[in-house]
Symmetry: C2
Subunit: 293 residues, 2 copies
């Protein structure tokens, strides 16, 4: 707060701030100018240049991606699962249209194919223009980028054909709604190989605990054998504290490939993830321990 | 974002929101009504009832404490240091006028005295009225609550007389300014016993890295022998991601009292802290590892 504190209750007027309101809390970034707007078939996609955070993508009025701090989300949606699986070869990303998760997954040399299935082509087009650093692996021959319905894709996926499924979606309203229910989870479970891992962004532990518990219950209901909660900071999402939930098709979460993780963290010059962060992110605060019983 | 998302760029009008702006980012809580305002000799103290976060204290326009999520800050400013020290008997809190850190420190049965030195009596008076749950240990006979200048208090403190000093202050502007410099650190070092630990809130790793590095350099300059960085979520502070820095008078940070920590986490029904959280909070993201070299 050192340098830029202003008086109490500043007025965040419409043309200077991009603000998202959630659960009685507001988060906004100060903008220099709007760079692009497009109403796609699915949502309103807006791109702004901010004062301090590089570019910002908003989807239907929700802050989605900023240049400065997206590394937290993208590293933490990918590497914990990929370093937990012994040998992930075939990965599917549902959503993820900004291509940041895809880029992180493609860093893994054992990965042979990554399908990215986002319903909205406009998100990827905008990302290529305004977040080119997230799209720099889009031409990797292992990447198969499709613009299609992720629910349909998983319903049609072959049994026992995928090692890791990452649901990198918007919230359970609008286009992302069908990615948070029993029918979808059942298809994901069926399509995973026996040592497969399902990953879903699972909202704010502080603000969205009922939803988080509902997701966990649904995953266990359809037959996932074990869950692992992963915490990480994410400044532009409500509360600044976000999570993913990992679910195993069979067996329990035990060790991860610690040495590989640390070698990779150095070699790939990751900004956040390393093996200590992996262990730390899976530590459960007491209020979550009590809630997850 | 599920239930309360509004359209892009809502106007956060003055009378409905308490908002703090920092580094081109704004965070606000929706308020029901203002409960109290007082201009003290040092700062403007305001109390609001919020829609979703209980009561909120603002100091000079900065969000300081909310009922719903202050547990994160207060547990993490106290327990990591107190469970690292082998037998903390004499603790000093500089600042901390809301008494939340004091309450956590007083949970420790080995603690014999806790001096709380906050310059502003109004903060504590307001906390007693509007955050009574933070003040419920103020009458503990081990607590010595003084309203005085923390810089002077530390300048006058006896050599080798304190086990843990916790600087639970506002930011390095206004009343908190003199708590972030060599002269103050030198007095803290001198007043600590040889196995003593100094703790300071050290701002957002994401937003305030230059300041964080400056603080660390100053601590090492005056002769602290080892530092430990501690991360935790703190929704109402800029970026939602906050930190404390621990500094040892001699020796290096090694083990902490893990078993005691886990027993206490259960017995005291802590909401966040336990031994896994302790380990996780001290894990350094790669960008901090690189910055702290």
């Amino acid at each position: 707060m050192a340098n830029t504190t202003e008086s109490s209750n500043p007025n965040l007027s419409n043309d200077e701030w991009c603000t998202e309101i959630n659960n009685g809390a507001a988060f906004g970034l100060k903008i220099k100018k709007k760079l692009a707007t497009k109403q796609s078939d699915f949502q309103l996609v807006e791109i702004y240049e901010t004062e301090e955070f590089g570019n910002l993508m908003m989807l239907d009025g929700c802050t989605m991606v900023s240049t400065r701090e997206n590394f937290l989300y993208h590293e933490m949606m990918s590497h914990p699962a990929l370093f937990t699986h012994k040998n992930p070869k075939n990965v599917v990303i549902i959503g993820g249209g900004d291509c940041g998760t895809l880029k992180e997954v493609l860093r893994h040399p054992n990965v042979e194919t990554v399908h990215q299935i986002d319903i909205d082509k406009v998100v990827t087009e905008m990302s290529e223009l305004y977040f080119p650093e997230l799209c720099e692996s889009n031409d990797d021959p292992r990447a198969i980028i499709k613009f299609d319905d992720g629910i349909k894709f998983m319903a049609e996926a072959k049994d026992n054909s995928i090692d890791i499924i990452i649901v990198d979606s918007t919230d359970p309203v609008g286009p992302g709604e069908g990615l948070f229910n029993h029918a979808f989870y059942r298809n994901c479970l069926r399509a995973l190989r026996s040592d497969g891992i399902f990953v879903q962004q699972s909202e704010s532990p502080l603000l969205h605990l009922p939803l988080l518990k509902e997701m966990r219950d649904a995953m266990l209901d359809v037959g996932f054998s074990d869950l692992q909660h992963v915490n990480f900071p994410q400044m532009i999402y409500p509360s600044g504290w976000w999570s993913s939930t990992l679910a195993k098709k069979s067996g329990a979460f035990e060790e991860f490939r610690k040495e590989d993780a640390d070698k990779a963290a150095l070699q790939w010059q990751l900004n956040y993830y390393n093996s200590d962060i992996h262990v730390g992110a899976t530590a459960l605060p007491n209020f979550l321990k009590r809630a997850f019983v």
